[in-house]
Symmetry: C2
Subunit: 339 residues, 2 copies
C-alpha cells in the first residue's frame, strides 16, 4: 500500500520536499478511528514507546521503593536534551541507589541541540551517559534492577550489569509490558538494536495506537499497569521540562495540555500519543524518518482531535522555516485532514 | 509520476525507513543516459549548483584581478563546515579586497558538525558570517562586485551592498550563468530564497544534469564559462578540503578522484555531479530532503558510472549506522541500479 503525503515543505510558494507516512488512531477496544497508509506494516517505535517501557518501573514497585518523584518519573519517559536539569535529575536518582553514571549502558551522547551543546562545550563539561537523551529511561531500568537485586539478595550493580540485553530480567519485564499493551508478542516481532542499545521491536502502527489508547484510559491493561500509566502521564504533566527540554514540542504540549494530551517522539519519524478524554491512541511513522514531519503530523492530529487552535499546535503543524539571516523562507504544511 | 525508492535504511535485517527520489544522468548534448522518476519536475538545486554560481567570478575576470588561488576558488564552490581553515581562507580573501566579514550577507551560522561546533565553543570563539557554510561563495560574489565597482568608479563596499538581491548586478550575472548552463531562463522559473539569502530557482533535474555535463566538458558553454568551469573543477581537485571539510563526502571524493569526479551536495536532498571523462552530468533530488540518502544515491551513481570499487564510494553508498555505544545497528542500502 502506498503511503499518502502527510507533510509538505514549502520554499516561497513552491513545494520543495514532501514526506509520506502512515497514521493510526485507535480506541482502547481496538476500533479504528483513522487509518492513513498501511497501519499493519511493522515499524520500529523507537523512543515513542518510552512510557510503555517505564510501566514496570512503577507497576513493579521500584518507583515507590526508591521514592521517585514526578521529575524522575517524567525523565524515565523522556528523550531529553541533555540540559543541566536533566543531567542532575538522572544523577540524583542514581546517587540514591548508591550508583553513578557508570551503571548506565546507554552510551555517551553529546546533546543534539546546538545551544545546549555550545553551552556545555563552553563550560568545558565532559560528556557522560547522563547526557544521553535516554539516561532517564536507563536510570529507571537500573531502579528496576536494584529492586530485583534486593529481592534476590544480590549486589545491585552486579545484578544490573547487562540490563540492555533482551534476556536480562529487567528487559524481559520491559518486553512483557510492551506485549501486554500492544497485544503483540514482541518476542516474535522483527528485532533491532536501538540507539541506546536496548532491543526495539517492529510492531504495526495499529497495535502501537491501541497501546496508547490503553495507556490513556487504563482499559485493557492489567490494573497495576493501568495505574502505572496514569502515574507516569501525571508525572509528565507535572514536570513537562523533563520529558524533552527547552523549545521542544513534547515539553510544550505537556505544559499546555497537561494530562489531556501525552505525546512522545521517537527516532526515524515516529510519534505516539494518548488522548485520555477521547479514549484514543495515536501512532504515526514518517516513511523517510524525518522528525520535522512527524512533529508537524502529530500537531495536526492533535489540533483535529482536540478541536484546538492552541498556538503550540499551530506553530508545529505549520512550522516556519527561516534562513541564517532570520528571513522567513518557507514553512511546513500538513497535506492531510482527519474526517 | 511516482518516485522510486532510491535508498533504504536498515535496522537489524528490517527496513526501517525509505527515501524516494528522482535522478537524471544526461550528456552535454542533452541525451538522457538515465532517468529515474520525474526528471522534468522543477526542484530547487540549492547549494548543489555553487560551481555554476561561481562561473562569473572566473569568467568575468575578478578571480584574476584579485589573484584568487586554488583554495579560494574551491571555497567559492563550497558548502564548508566552518572549520578554522575555511574561516581563515574566506577572511584572507576579504582582507585582500580591503573588506571584512561585515561585507558578507549570508548571515551567521554555527557549524553544523558537532565536533567542529564543540571545538569552536570550547575556544570561546564567536560566530561570524565567515563560519557560514556559504561564506566562500559569498566572498566570491563580493569579488565580482569589487571588480564591477572598479569599472564603474564606485566605492567597493557601497557597490557590493545588497548583492544577494535578484536585481543586483552581481546576482544578475549569477542568474545569467545559471540560465546559460541549464538552458532554462531562470528568471521565469519558480523562485525561493536560499539559506544564505540569495535567490534559488526551481529547475528540472534534466536541465541541472545537462548543466553539469556542460560544466564537465565545456561543450555547449560560452568559451569563457567553459574555461571557468575547468579552472574551478581543477581548484576543487587541488584543494579538496575547502569544498566541504573533515569527514565530508565531497572532500573525500575530490581527494580520491581529483578532476575525474566533481560532486556537490545541496540542501534538501540535492546532489549534482560532473564526470568529464564520460561526458556526463548527474542531478538527483531525494523527495523528502534527506542528505543521508542523497549522498548514498550519489555514491551509488558514481560507483556505477566510474565502475569503481573505491572505498570512499562504497562506504557512502552503504553507510553503516552505529548507536551511542558504537555498536553497528544498521546501514543504508541503495535500492536502484543503473542499467
Amino acid at each position: 500500500m502506498t503511503s499518502p503525503v502527510l507533510v509538505e515543505v514549502l520554499r516561497g510558494g513552491t513545494v520543495e520536499s514532501r514526506h509520506t507516512g502512515a497514521l493510526a488512531i485507535v480506541d482502547a477496544a481496538g476500533a479504528v478511528h483513522t487509518a492513513l497508509g498501511d497501519i499493519d506494516r511493522p515499524v520500529f517505535p523507537r523512543s515513542a514507546v518510552k512510557l510503555l517501557q517505564a510501566l514496570p518501573l512503577v507497576a513493579g514497585g521500584a518507583a515507590d521503593a526508591f521514592g521517585l518523584d514526578d521529575a524522575e518519573l517524567a525523565l524515565a519517559c523522556a528523550s531529553h536534551s541533555g540540559e543541566p536539569a536533566h543531567v542532575a535529575t538522572a544523577a540524583g536518582l542514581l546517587a540514591r541507589l548508591g550508583l553513578t553514571a557508570d551503571a548506565l549502558e546507554c552510551g555517551t551522547q553529546w546533546p543534539g541541540r546546538e545551544p545546549v551543546l555550545r553551552a556545555m562545550a563552553a563550560r568545558g563539561e565532559a560528556v557522560t551517559p547522563l547526557h544521553n537523551n535516554c539516561s532517564g529511561k536507563h536510570a529507571g531500568f537500573v531502579c528496576v534492577a536494584c529492586l530485583m537485586a534486593r529481592a534476590a539478595g544480590a549486589e545491585p550493580a552486579a545484578f544490573a550489569r547487562g540490563y540492555v540485553a533482551a534476556a536480562h530480567p529487567v528487559m524481559r519485564e520491559v518486553s512483557a509490558a510492551l506485549s501486554l499493551a500492544t497485544g503483540v508478542d514482541v518476542e516474535r516481532a522483527p528485532r533491532g538494536t536501538d540507539g541506546c542499545s536496548i532491543p526495539t521491536f517492529a510492531l504495526p502502527l495499529r497495535a502501537l495506537a491501541l497501546a496508547f489508547a490503553r495507556a490513556g484510559t487504563g482499559q485493557g491493561l492489567p490494573d497495576a499497569h493501568a495505574r502505572a500509566a496514569r502515574r507516569l502521564r501525571r508525572a509528565v504533566a507535572a514536570a513537562p521540562f523533563m520529558v524533552a527540554g527547552s523549545d521542544r514540542f513534547d515539553t510544550r504540549v505537556a505544559t499546555a495540555f497537561g494530562e489531556r494530551l501525552f505525546c512522545k517522539i521517537g527516532a526515524e519519524g515516529m510519534y505516539c500519543a494518548a488522548l485520555p478524554e477521547l479514549g484514543l491512541g495515536v501512532a504515526l511513522k514518517i516513511d523517510d524518518g524525518a522528525a520535522r514531519a512527524a512533529e508537524a503530523a502529530m500537531a495536526t492530529v492533535a489540533q483535529a482531535l482536540l478541536r484546538s487552535g492552541h498556538e503550540v499546535l499551530r506553530a508545529a503543524s505549520h512550522a516556519v522555516l527561516r534562513n541564517w539571516r532570520g528571513t522567513e523562507v518557507g514553512a511546513l504544511r500538513p497535506a492531510f485532514t482527519l474526517g
